[in-house]
Symmetry: D2
Subunit: 389 residues, 4 copies
């Protein structure tokens, strides 16, 4: 078992984006006692005595393809979205600069995949070495990729050969990163709707290396509510006839989603979760619209039309007004620590016990949030027992 004292490195894909920057600001603020660990499951009682990596021993680095810097993003989040104050920002500036110094140019879609994977692996090794890290986790926070038709290889050897042959196989950057991480024995978590490790041949590679992987698409707001409310209607035997959701948001995520194929990728997860929670007859519809003035804030309006006793039609509507980065950042930290825990327990493969964090959880039986929480709870109990031995 690794020593608790050891440092954990979190390697962020999209390292100067809103979520990554908020992770950096938050970790720095927590370490300096400027804020309380609100929103962090791994700082709550159910995660006690698990030997999780302490917040003070987490080091950040990552890849980024955009020109923006962590400092500029932080400034923008402050000015436009009002997330953190000027004085807090001033105090955590050194930590943001430290992250900035650990950012390497990311993989762009359409470039040579094999050399990109190799470069990525070198970056990971260099980061671990320079910071004296014993363990790392990679988290994909990059913009949603367009839905891509990928090769059907089921074995890693076949995909490897395909990559070698064409020098250019049809895998998106998120998958290239996942391969690099797995080959370096680094757990990989996909926070976005992109493909990531969710390819049979990549899962084969993860199994071979016994490296934990998980995804896809973190459940931060509207879908979280769906996974809580849909089971309520079911428990009361109320018949949901239609469930319509409209999301408006103004950050880069929102801009990306103006691209129809990226939008399709995102909406697929949102709709899928809901349709798996409701009866076949329920009509579901989810829309996402870019509204610049919202910046990093997202408002979701959901209209749920249901029938009760004697066919009486009734309605529930909710309006969720959340700050995307502030909702996402603590989940990034939670997922990194829990993926690291899994690796430390010597386990690999799909971490389906983390389903409660995702809109489209890999290998998960249930989309019902409280069932997902119970599965996690049981896992944590058994992990704690194992840790004690």
């Amino acid at each position: 078992l690794a020593k608790t004292g050891d440092h954990l490195g979190i390697w962020l894909i999209g390292a100067a984006g809103n979520v990554a920057t908020t992770v950096a600001v938050g970790l720095a603020a927590l370490r300096r006692g400027l804020t309380a660990p609100i929103g962090l499951l791994t700082e709550s009682p159910i995660c006690r005595n698990l030997g999780l990596s302490p917040l003070s021993r987490i080091t950040l680095g990552g890849h980024e393809i955009a020109r923006r810097t962590v400092l500029a993003t932080a400034e923008e989040l402050h000015t436009q979205s009002g997330i953190f104050g000027e004085s807090l920002l001033r105090q955590v500036r050194p930590d943001l600069k430290k992250l900035q110094s650990a950012i390497r140019p990311g993989i762009k879609a359409g470039h040579g995949v094999r050399p990109a994977i190799e470069q990525c692996r070198r970056d990971l090794r260099q980061f671990a070495k320079s910071r004296g890290l014993s363990r790392m986790v990679m988290i994909n926070l990059a913009s949603t990729e367009p839905l891509l038709r990928v090769g059907k290889q089921r074995k890693w050897s076949d995909l490897e050969r395909a990559l070698a042959k064409s020098g250019e196989a049809a895998i998106p950057p998120s998958t290239a990163y996942a391969i690099a991480a797995i080959q370096e024995n680094i757990p990989y978590v996909n926070f976005t709707p992109s493909l990531g490790a969710n390819h049979p041949a990549v899962l084969d590679l993860a199994a071979q290396h016994n490296v934990p992987v998980m995804g896809a698409d973190a459940k931060t707001g509207e879908t979280l509510l769906k996974s809580v409310l849909a089971p309520m209607f079911d428990a009361r035997r109320l018949d949901v006839m239609s469930w319509t959701g409209t999301n408006i948001l103004g950050n880069r995520d929102g801009q990306t989603l103006r691209e129809p194929r990226a939008r399709a990728a995102k909406l697929r997860g949102k709709d899928q979760a809901l349709s798996m929670l409701l009866s076949e007859n329920a009509q579901t519809h989810t829309a996402i619209d870019f509204v610049g003035s919202m910046h990093d804030w997202k408002t979701a309006w959901d209209h749920i039309h249901f029938r009760g006793f004697l066919d009486t039609k009734m309605t529930l509507q909710f309006i969720w007004q959340g700050c995307d980065s502030a909702l996402a950042a603590p989940l990034v930290i939670d997922l990194a620590r829990l993926a690291d825990l899994h690796a430390q327990l010597g386990r690999g493969g799909v971490m389906s016990h983390l389903a409660c964090f995702f809109k489209s959880p890999m290998d998960a039986d249930s989309h019902r949030f409280f069932e997902q929480m119970q599965i996690l709870q049981k896992y944590l109990d058994s992990a704690r027992a194992e840790r004690r031995r």
Copy 2:
């Protein structure tokens, strides 16, 4: 064990009110195949093979203090609230008349309690005899009583003596009904915030008779949502700072709640549930306002102000537009059948496994809806096993 074929009598206190009338219309419509059993837990897969009393073998009767009739109430619900259509109403008229013929004058507050209990017992026996009923359940649907300071007797013998002495003890009608039911070995369920069986001496009596009792205040709408959403915030470690709820409604329930002490009784349950689900620092406030034009419809607006990572303040609001009677009626039927099941299994006392149905469940550890559902699920599994033997 009683024969499945036997008839179950449901004795409704407030038998010509909106909820009772909707129970009668609904049962009649279900028996005639005019509607599907939407909203009925006891008609769903989790209640299979429990030997529950079939819907076709349920007979209704009850007490009523108001002059209204079931037919007039049904007509009013149709005209003003649009719950059921004219043609359905025409077809179920015989069943409503049958209920009307089984309604006896109810107990009024401030009259002699002992003779009232005796009269109530005679009414119950007479109903059972005239309809050839083998089993009965009493459900209190009467208007919320004002909060009352009651005697502190812990034993039934002490309360009995007090009732005899003054000829007039400080117990409200709902408690008098509960005593009558228990003395007749009839399970008692309190659907309202009134006191009912929730008095130490009455519970003592229920224990002596081994009669099941439960309450209080059925969880039909806003509080149901609270018991689902508050645990979500907790699971995500989001800090609820304030939770404000406003309910507007226009039925007799709403009119009763204009009386400050009845309002206090109602709101106590609503606020209590929420404050037990949230941290101590959360400010909670619930308001109920009578708005005549709403008739039997209730709209609840809840504003939930919470803090997330880096103290970011966010908001969830929901608007619930439900028809009170259509939400309540199936729960009445479910509770009657499940209380009858408990009695058939030879058990008595507080049915805390039915907590999921109540705002202020007696003897219940949790206000979290999905935990309450699990407890019920386990109970049903063991009851099914017992039934098979």
Copy 3:
């Protein structure tokens, strides 16, 4: 001046649709004293002493291309959308049958335009003759037509020649109906976003015949609110940054709008009105989604994000839950009576004084609702004065 006693015929395009049927039910119910004239401007004090055609002397007829009947539509509106009750429906049945007997097959897109216009004229004359009508008005209530690129003729003679030459000019059915009406000296009102009389050559024809015309797209709900609220923000110098609207509805109108070109036609009016009311910098977005369970009900959620003093960002949201046909029907009656008034005053051309009724009013300077109402008020005052002479 025509005698007040004379009958007015209203010829409805889409005569068996939801709105036309509700017009028929409503007129019949009003005549029989079964309902009050709620929603009718022409029954309010500002329309007194204008010599408007009395409700009791209005006769309905129309064209319809669908197979549905007025009776079936009425039944469907009752059952699915709960608009009017069974007993009311029973009492007005004779009136609905009378309308049904006056319905002729409508013009289908893509068929010969000239013969269609001729047939339409014959139908109009036949209706007037058979019912002994002295005056008529045509109102287009048909499903929204796809946006069409039409010929650029500015003079009626040019369009007439084009129609004759090809035997098939690029004009949609709504315009063919408008031509027929004008040639019969019948005022034409376009209640929908379709082209109707809004073509230079058709307006030329209307001028030649001195026949009143107006449109387009009646302002019943969300856009009405926009035209009331946007001027409020302006009056308070609050800076609207974005205005996002989402409409869900489940009637035939909603189904038609699934067709992208029809949707474009509809949204153009909705967005146009708003962008003309706001500053150039405001981002506007309107969406319409078909949700079957809503039937004839429409819910609009609008999110208005605005800046105030010291750049403080604030939000107004509204949720409008309206019944489409019940909102539209009284406007149909109002428009018919007011168009008839204009004709009786001997005037023709575009009735821009009716702008308050439309999303995209022809020849109107203002989209501000209360300015539009003032223009109408002044018109009515002067019309009243003229009538007195």
Copy 4:
């Protein structure tokens, strides 16, 4: 006519409160070009060429009974309510200090009224002298006073005598301030629901001195919407059956309103405005609840239940999320400049042309916002013409 170059002094009652502080921050930021004049009617085209006092020549002073300072309030507004940023606050600090130095201890309820009036007059004269001000306006921003039964004197001489006799007449502080201002020939504007100048004897004094006065209770949010939306329902002949409003807020204003008599004073205005806009049958209800976590933000949820054609019941709901101080501050500046304009035109008495700014406008015929705006517009046009002469 006074020279435009002269300075205007605004004397604020409640000078260190949220609104006064926001006025000071805003004026300073505008003068320094740090913000645009959003929300200021007097900086918009309709107020051009009126010779209004330029923003750069406004000087602030005032009375305050609480111990708080302008700087502390500004800091609190920044930290808790996020209204203005740290750097802006830093830059305007000198202006806030200047206001602080011009604040004098205010009048407390229950102390000797006559000496208080005298002291207040000395403070006003001293301020004018020390700052070299040619003109002043007094604006009451103090916490809402409890409803008080006041003397029925109709003439100033009677009230003066009563004040002299008892040394202690039943007038609240807001009225004492108004008397002091009028006696110093300073226009008085009551921004709150308190009594202020709205007493027959005080109006008599204002007439004698030819000093302009106006009030009461500025219309910043929910009531503004009511005065815009209620006329829309009327214009469409839709029958509002009930209008329910719930306001939650967390500032000192909210805390004051926990006191039942202050709450009654506030709600009276809110309900009055609405009931004057609707038919007699409409049921109206407005609630205000203190929710600490909201700080200076106010959320209003309004539920409007209305009937349309064929008695169809429909609903409009709105949710207004506004920052109280940011909405109020520009109106304070507008009112001061417009009251000053009136005085410069040599007029006195009730300024009913400013009705558009108030919930309970004195001497106003209409609560309809756009009618009120038209009255103001006409006034401004005639004032402009007068100024030109």
